[in-house]
């Protein structure tokens, strides 16, 4: 039975990372925004959604965090997504006004590091390195679930969220908006010369991506019941980037494949390797090495990723059929 729970845990991470990957994909693959701070947007969603469902910190528990409000988890999840959009708005106003590509990426890395240090050291915000824990499990009141049956129900819920977010993202990608974003990615000056408001378009991609990051983060916090500063470090950023690049930048199905390959297979499978008591850090290091090797192999042999960006065709429109 343990194996079944474990498998359903992996299925959950597959769903959650698909959502995360789409968010990065619209920013990086769609609009060409190299958002190295992406994991910070995930963290904002997780912290805000988690804290809002939990109550205020119990006196004497030693915990201290803001926002505790006993909100229903779906509202909290939405708030997490919106809070992440708030950070996106802030980052966009700093970064998109004057900066491009590499410089933009540097500013976003810096933003991520500042956010990380701030959350770690300013304990009253989200309890510093200890982070949030004991976040109430969704549906626990409704279905009288135990810790194990919760996994099944929450998997189902995550599947619904994933399907809805896939539908929305694929509509966006194929729309004229998605096309304009790709024009910005290809050449900002040309886009401007054609009358595109590049700032507004980049901001749109930033906000949509941030929302996906926030929702993904919220799902993760409800599933694991805890979130702290070890949950959003550099390796986590690397996992999402690797997943999107390996799956195929600019392809939403590629992002799904990437979420299967990287966070699920390449991060989880090495955990079955026999542990060496003398080297407890060995397995996580093997994880990173394997992902790194896979990333190099993909960039070398198939830089467009496993499922490359699809060429837009207008055949259906010519035939007068809906492409929506």
């Amino acid at each position: 039975m343990q194996v079944v729970y474990y498998a359903f845990t992996l299925v959950f991470f597959f769903f959650a990372y698909s959502v995360l990957n789409w968010g990065l994909n619209i920013q990086f693959g769609g609009a060409g925004i190299l958002n190295f701070a992406y994991i910070a947007f995930v963290a904002v969603g997780a912290y805000v959604a988690g804290a809002l469902t939990a109550g205020p910190p119990a006196p004497g528990s030693g915990q201290s965090y803001v926002l505790g409000a006993h909100l229903p988890f779906m509202i909290a999840l939405l708030c997490g997504g919106l809070a992440s959009c708030g950070l996106g708005l802030f980052a966009g106003f700093i970064a998109f006004r004057r900066l491009r590509s590499d410089y933009l990426a540097i500013v976003l890395i810096s933003l991520s590091l500042v956010a990380y240090d701030f959350v770690t050291n300013y304990v009253p915000l989200f309890d510093g390195p200890d982070g949030l824990s004991g976040i109430p499990e969704p549906f626990s009141g409704a279905f009288n679930l135990n810790a194990n049956s919760f996994i099944f129900v929450f998997d189902a819920f995550s599947a619904v969220v994933m399907v809805a977010m896939w539908a929305a993202m694929s509509r966006l990608t194929r729309s004229p908006l998605g096309r304009a974003l790709r024009a910005v990615r290809e050449d900002q000056d040309v886009a401007k010369a054609l009358g595109k408001n590049v700032f507004r378009l980049q901001m749109t991609a930033m906000l949509v991506g941030s929302f996906y990051a926030g929702i993904g983060g919220g799902l993760i916090v409800f599933f694991s019941g805890a979130f702290n500063t070890s949950s959003w470090t550099t390796p986590e950023t690397f996992v999402v980037f690797a997943a999107v690049i390996i799956g195929g930048l600019g392809n939403n199905a590629g992002a799904v494949l990437g979420s299967l390959l990287v966070p699920v297979i390449f991060v989880e499978l090495p955990k079955f390797l026999p542990q060496l008591a003398s080297q407890p850090a060995l397995v996580p290091e093997i994880d990173n090495m394997l992902i790194g090797a896979l990333l190099i192999a993909v960039l070398w042999f198939r830089p467009q990723g496993a499922l490359p960006e699809r060429k837009a065709t207008f055949d259906d429109l010519m035939a007068g059929q809906a492409r929506w």
Partner: protein, 281 residues
Amino acid sequence: MPADEVPGGQLAGAARPNQPAPADALHCVGLRKAFGGVQAVDGATFVVPAGSISALIGPNGAGKSTAVNVIAGAVSPDGGKVRLFGHDITGWPAHRVAGAGLVRTFQLSRELGRLTVLENLMVTPRGQLGESLWNVFFRPSAIRRQERQYLARALDILAVFGLYELRDHYAGQLSGGQKRLLELARAVMAEPRVLLLDEPMAGINPALVAQIAGHIEGLRASGVTVLMVEHNLNVVESVCERVIVMAEGRTLAVGTMAELRAHPEVVRAYLGGALSAGTAR
């Protein structure tokens, strides 16, 4: 009625008195732009009459491209005024200038490489309903209607430019000449009032030069005002009725190519011994 108006006709080279639209598509006064210590544009002043094909010529480093960049809003000027059909557009950001109807091309053709040829045209029209997040989710049928109109027009334009068969190729895969054609096709799709072409003939073969010149004349016939920076003086002579010569950031002379060939300063600064060769480069 003004004294010099021909009865039943109109003022030579000027707007009809009862028509508010100014006759000058583009009016640049005292444009100045420096990069570090280099005064690239230093008081350039010129007018591009509506409905004309005008050329901007001059030696390398005369400030032509900078002038184009200033007019199109790619760089903001240090001084001077740019008026588009009488409206002051000085210092407007590039997308706003384009929104006002002034579309430019680039010296090195800049296609959107990983968009298809057809998409390069489809992305061009301004004010697309489908570029708003709200409309994408809540007005799909309005978007679809608009997309059908754009598609029909884009396919027509591609046919005219001989790119129809290549419509599903990535623009990055086109040859140099095809990229030039695509850039011009995209400019046509944008339905500009004023088109700024930065060296449209650079690096293309003679047969294609004639073809592109034909397209530019076609654009003018449809009411577009064209200003082109160009070094191929044969093209300038045959296509442009009005030539503006720049040197050292200033406007040196304005006239027809024939008049300029008799202009001693222009000959000294630019034409030099190139008269016999027809090009100066």
